[in-house]
Symmetry: C2
Subunit: 398 residues, 2 copies
């Protein structure tokens, strides 16, 4: 039979990272493509301890029964405490929704706000899955330029006036893919400008805790006076991606709409996932484990930066991030990272080509490199392989 | 700030069951409203045993890391075996998608197929959450009449010709809310008629394993020659609702589209939830536990049927199901179960009014009663309370 799909399916082909994820079944491939935390940072002993206790409780059956869509009440309370670490001091339970990972939070916001044709402003470049999500609601993504401080405020206001967007999506701390962080002043201005024009902001914050250098910057949500900022955070990078938990913080009216959307999507986040996150936070394990994680990620970043200096062609320009999981760089314009990708795979090394992060599909000379997942030796070896490949390509240009 | 929501939000107010679920925080209320399995059927000891083992494995970190969107490969293989119990013998891994509960499966099918204005045929009455889901895609639900054998085939064909629907949603075994089961012949004809007109069928099957009387009927998917039937099953009623796992079986092309939609929704079902379901199936626990569950549910159904005979007014007509979780009944037309509901809550007993199950909002004299969740004593006492209330209402009609 020939199937007659919804029109939203026309633009959806699966995100590059997810598709590349499938390649990683080949253990010989060194992958800088995903955003996986280091395997040694995953707190297996702690989660075992927590599971042992939860499953031994006399009321364990409660965990197996249906739960509330918005999440376990005790977890919601705990999350109100947790978001104080992002300078959000006034959240109460009705401001907070438990989500099945940060990705679901973004999806629920888009479902709540976006009609076909509605514009969503994004950083240029931005998190590639968001471009797919916007497409899945038949919305239109428009890129906002960046300045040295964060978003280019003139370009932001100009594009708000021009496109009348419903939403702005941004990752103000250790942005994916660029790793850049907006200044406090830039965040404050973004909150003011968007409030002035009635634009709702998704402040996606999966990485801010992974800072190994420099001083933290307060969240944009903490500067939100109009109630137009939705803060989304994930425990995927600091507890477990496989556990699929996160939190959304917003005005109660928005949280209620997102909750109704979540009813349809999955009824609620699995209870055991929620309880693991609750206990992990309550016992203070997150803080303790983060201290070790940032040291590790800082070291891995340095290994990759050093390997880049050593092996990559001098024509490769890249960032030196203070946190997060990625190095972002570019080659001269004639180097096409999309076309070269199969050759990299043939040499058993994977990256993400930059063009998937640009709303307009440009940036074919860009590349994102993840340093958290591969081992120290793999980082050295993988960058060596990439360096050889791209040196050949650059030589070919002459 | 005034928020400018998507037009899909206009029709969404949260499903009646989910909202009533919140009431159940009051332990004095006897609830016949939800669809919760009996607490004593939840396999706490087995899940503890499984969790103990999974969390002790040397490769436990793999469970905490990201997984594939379609699900753990070994679970997908196990599910191919599992669906043989629904007479689906030819499923291979590419026919199978792991879902976060049956509800997510339905949502993903609608996302894959439904544009605003598209018609979805449903049984009349049907599962209330499906009506909300169709509304969330701005689709239009149209009810198909039932015959003694299942769907009224003439009405089905007439409405296919009239409305050109993309989908038919049905629960052929122990339908929610009516508890009725379509005959094998009726299923075969539905598969044929829908294939003839290119209509895709969602065969939702959360209840067929909960049969305490009569002979099983083969699934509609087992009669699907054109590849137009999508079979969705859930482990919520027979393992754990809080674990949020289920399975969709369909043509590989459809599964691939649903997988892409799931990428956006939640990336993947939590790994621990998947592993629990995998081990529970592999160890044969599901079969063993089902044997006990159906005895319990058969007994509880009888307690409720007996209490209805004893306490409810003779004007109440209701079903005597062979399985599933619900009794469905109606009063004379002037008895309005919607308006009477607050009085039932005042007397500390909850039901679901029938109108929420009808695509056209009719059926205000109907009522669905769940017998799996309340204790034996609560069933007796709750039906006694409802009997007194509705006897008063019927007396008031005279």
């Amino acid at each position: 039979m020939k199937y007659n799909y919804a029109s939203r399916m026309a633009g959806l082909n699966g995100t590059a990272t997810r598709e590349i994820f499938k390649l990683l079944g080949d253990p010989e491939i060194i992958s800088f493509a995903g955003g996986n935390p280091a395997i040694q940072c995953l707190p297996t002993a702690r989660v075992k301890e927590i599971c042992d206790e939860i499953t031994s409780r006399p009321d364990f059956a409660r965990v197996l029964q249906y739960g509330l869509t918005a999440g376990f009440p005790e977890l919601r309370k705990q999350l109100c405490e947790y978001v104080k670490t992002a300078d959000i001091y006034d959240a109460s339970v009705e401001n907070v929704l438990v989500i099945s990972g940060g990705q679901q939070g973004i999806d629920l916001v888009l479902k709540t706000f976006i009609n076909p044709g509605d514009v969503v402003l994004v950083e240029n470049p931005t998190y590639l899955a968001v471009l797919q999500l916007i497409s899945s609601y038949e919305g239109v993504a428009k890129g906002v330029d960046e300045s040295g401080e964060g978003l280019d405020l003139n370009d932001l206001e100009k594009k708000i006036i021009k496109y009348k967007p419903k939403l702005l999506y941004c990752v103000p701390t250790f942005s994916n893919p660029t790793g850049r962080t907006y200044s406090a002043e830039n965040r404050k201005k973004i909150a003011e400008i968007t409030a002035k024009y009635g634009v709702v902001v998704i402040e996606d914050d999966p990485y801010s805790k992974l800072r190994f250098k420099g001083e933290p910057v307060p969240s944009m949500k903490s500067m939100d006076k109009a109630g137009n900022v939705i803060f989304i955070s994930s425990f995927s990078k600091i507890l477990s991606p496989g556990n699929r938990t996160g939190v959304a913080v917003a005005a109660p009216e928005i949280i209620r709409k997102m909750e109704i959307c979540k009813q349809g999507t999955d009824l609620h986040t699995p209870n055991l996932s929620q309880m693991i996150t609750y206990e992990y936070l309550k016992r203070g394990y997150l803080e303790e484990d983060l201290k070790k994680a940032v040291v590790l990620y800082g070291r891995k970043k340095k290994i990759m930066s050093d390997a880049i200096s050593k092996y990559m062609p001098s024509e490769f320009n890249c960032t030196d991030p203070d946190g997060g999981l990625f190095i972002w760089g570019y080659f001269p314009e004639k180097i096409d990272t999309v076309n070269i990708f199969p050759e990299a795979i043939a040499r058993k090394v994977a990256y993400i080509n930059g063009s998937v992060f640009f709303a307009d599909g440009s940036g074919r000379n860009y590349m994102r490199l993840n340093y958290s997942y591969a081992s120290d030796e793999q980082i050295e070896e993988g960058i060596h392989r990439l360096g050889d490949l791209f040196k050949e390509k650059i030589a070919g240009l002459r």
